[in-house]
């Protein structure tokens, strides 16, 4: 199938701005799914609210566009009800880690077989450029007119600490590895987190005077290094990309099945 076969043309044109990185992610997500040989009817895509959340409507899967921050909670209901389905949950950084932070932590702790893709553009785009939990100290936003005074989350460390069994980070510059990472994340049985740094030239770029989309992509190229790189030791400000966690651990739905077996045997342990 061509990429086009996964897209709902009825839904076009999309709402993303020129230069936005979200389309690059959608493209690679579809290519990853194609490589995995998954049928469209096996996939349920659940999203919350924001620019990133619109991705579900554009793709020809079972798609659930829900409320702000709660995509993982809806997805948990779908997955537990029908464990044979493949659950993919793209979220923005604000959606996943501010309003949805608690659901993110607990989905990771449960190690439920869901692939969370965090489209991290470091800003609330849809509402016009307010700072997010990933904006970074000193960055400008419409609600941080004197500079943001919060430090950012490190999504990978957060996911790891909370119990996610697959954790990776990439950027919209590194498209080839992005596709592979998404593929592996979906194949992985357990809670998988893929953080993808994606440019928002319209709000983050403009507010912070970091140039256009190409400049922002070049930033990803220059300011990120592979996990374990020597350069990171010399310059701790560099951001690591690659796979941070890859572990086989008990998955929630499988554990629940064991609970059902116990219950049917009449044992309450």
């Amino acid at each position: 199938m061509a990429v086009k076969d996964y897209v709902r043309e009825r839904f076009m044109p999309h709402i993303w701005c020129p230069g936005c990185g979200h389309g690059t992610i959608m493209n690679n997500l579809v290519r990853a799914i194609e490589s995995l040989g998954l049928k469209k009817s096996e996939i349920v895509m659940v999203t919350g609210i924001g620019c990133s959340a619109r991705i579900s409507g554009y793709l020809d899967f079972h798609t659930l566009h829900t409320i702000h921050g709660r995509a993982l909670a809806f997805a948990t209901g779908v997955k537990l009800a029908r464990p044979e389905l493949t659950l993919i949950v793209p979220m923005g950084d604000g959606d996943a880690l501010a309003i949805g932070g608690n659901h993110f932590l607990h989905a990771a702790r449960r190690n439920i077989d869901i692939t969370a893709i965090i489209m991290n553009n470091s800003i609330y785009g849809m509402t016009g450029g307010q700072f997010s939990p990933l904006s970074g100290y000193g960055k400008m936003a419409t609600t941080a007119p004197y500079g943001n005074i919060y430090e950012s989350f490190d999504i990978a460390q957060l996911a790891k600490a909370a119990g996610a069994s697959f954790v990776g980070r990439t950027t919209t510059y590194h498209v080839a590895s992005m596709k592979e990472m998404i593929e592996e994340a979906i194949r992985h049985k357990g809670f998988s987190v893929v953080e993808i740094m994606t440019q928002c030239p319209t709000y983050f770029g403009r507010k912070n005077k970091v140039g256009d989309a190409v400049d922002m992509l070049n930033y990803y190229k220059d300011q990120t290094v592979p996990v374990g790189s020597e350069k990171k030791k010399e310059n701790p400000a560099l951001i690591e990309r690659g796979i941070f966690v890859r572990e086989e651990r008990a998955e929630y739905c499988s554990e629940y099945e064991k609970t059902v077996e116990k219950a049917k045997r009449g044992r309450r342990v």
């Binding site: 899967f61 798609t63 009800a81 608690n102 219950a263």
Partner: protein, 382 residues
């Protein structure tokens, strides 16, 4: 003695009713006074291969229930006041996306943390208007465990028929009180199964195009039809739109499917109403005290009757008006500041004959409480 006779809490009767109705999925979070529902279902659901999950919070529980219901399972959550507040946004999502589900709210004293272990009926209006935006809703209640069982089954039937969340508004007294329950045999109470689409695979399926009778046949998420579900205003494909005509059509549909079926959704019980000069109107545990008063007064020859509401929303205005036509006094007995009182006043042409007998301090309203208020209303002094 039948082995179908059990001695249980109301919360347990609710669990039995839900399982009888075919509950397949429960998500919840611990909160007094509804916790027993989650505890019991954590035992019972896995035994039959059903799904039970304790989520990280009240909001997540409501969201998980909606997700599970979309895949075709009859789904429910249970909570109490503060949790009911937290669930409201997701309840609105279920209304907008027309996902059947049942939400139990065992009412306790509020506002805020209030009186967690004490009784109240303060969430009647929250059940009606708790989530933002114009909408219709169904809320049911019961005053004894036999009725509670049946009304729980009805809640699932109504949710599946009209594709809507249904609120079960119980209260702390009903939830925790123990009394007998005779478990009905399978088939004794009819069950409504979800209407599923007959559109075949490969044919364009319109998930949000109502049939002529207003009903929307569903396709299970994960099945042969792939479609979009969104809380945004949407067209017949489930795609977002701000087209005024489509928005108007959807708003009317969401309203009319409930408000246009008030008679079918109305459940009420009548006691000695035929010649009643004083009509008490009550619901939930309050109706038990009200019935006690009415029976005593009848024994003394006083023309008093009771209208016990089981459907609170949509409010059965026409039925209430008709039952109160000949009454000199209409007295609403409830444990709040007069939430159903307002609806009764609205329903009657001469609201000045409508009075309130209430209690709002977390103490169960007793027959004596009602009698004392009746003396004032009937001009007999305190």
């Amino acid at each position: 003695m039948s082995d179908k006779l059990v001695f249980v809490q109301g919360n347990e009767a609710c669990v039995e009713g839900a399982l009888y109705a075919g509950l397949g999925f429960f998500a919840g979070y611990p909160i007094t006074p509804s916790t027993e529902i989650a505890e019991l279902l954590s035992i019972r659901l896995p035994q039959r291969g059903g799904k039970f999950i304790q989520m990280e919070d009240e909001i997540a529980s409501m969201c998980a229930v909606i997700g599970a219901s979309l895949t075709g399972l009859k789904s429910m959550t249970a909570t109490s006041g503060p949790g009911f507040s937290l669930k409201q946004e997701a309840i609105g999502y279920a209304i907008m996306t027309e996902v059947p589900c049942v939400v139990v709210n065992v009412m306790r004293g509020g506002p805020s943390t209030g009186l967690p272990t004490k009784v109240s009926q303060g969430d009647v209006m929250q059940a009606r208007w708790g989530t933002h935006g114009d909408h219709a809703i169904v809320a049911l209640t019961a005053s004894n465990h036999q009725d509670l069982f049946a009304i729980t089954v009805e809640a699932f039937n109504i949710a599946e028929t009209y594709r809507t969340p249904v609120i079960l508004l119980f209260d702390e007294v009903i939830g925790h009180m123990r009394e007998k329950l005779i478990l009905p045999e399978p088939g004794e109470i009819p069950l409504v199964q979800r209407l599923r689409t007959s559109v075949r695979e490969g044919t364009d399926y319109h998930p949000y195009l109502p049939r002529e009778d207003g009903r929307l046949p569903m396709s299970d998420f994960g099945g042969v039809h792939r479609y979009n579900v969104t809380g945004l205003m949407h067209d017949m494909w489930g795609f977002p739109t701000d087209n005024p005509q489509v928005a108007y059509g959807l708003m009317r549909h969401l309203f009319d499917k409930i408000e246009g079926h008030v008679e079918e959704i109305t459940r009420m019980k009548e006691f000695f109403l035929d010649d009643a000069e004083t009509v008490l109107i009550s619901y939930g545990s309050s109706a038990r005290s009200a019935l006690h008063v009415v029976e005593n007064r009848r024994a003394r020859g006083e023309k008093m009757g009771l209208l016990e509401l089981q459907t609170l929303w949509p409010f059965p205005s026409a039925a209430v008006r008709e039952r109160c036509n000949d009454a000199k006094f209409v007295v609403v007995v409830e444990m709040n500041m007069g939430q159903i009182l307002l609806e009764v006043k609205k329903a009657l042409d001469d609201p000045e004959r409508v009075y309130l007998a209430n209690r709002i301090d977390g103490t169960f309203i007793s027959p004596t409480d009602i009698r004392n208020i009746l003396r004032v209303i009937q001009g007999k002094g305190v």
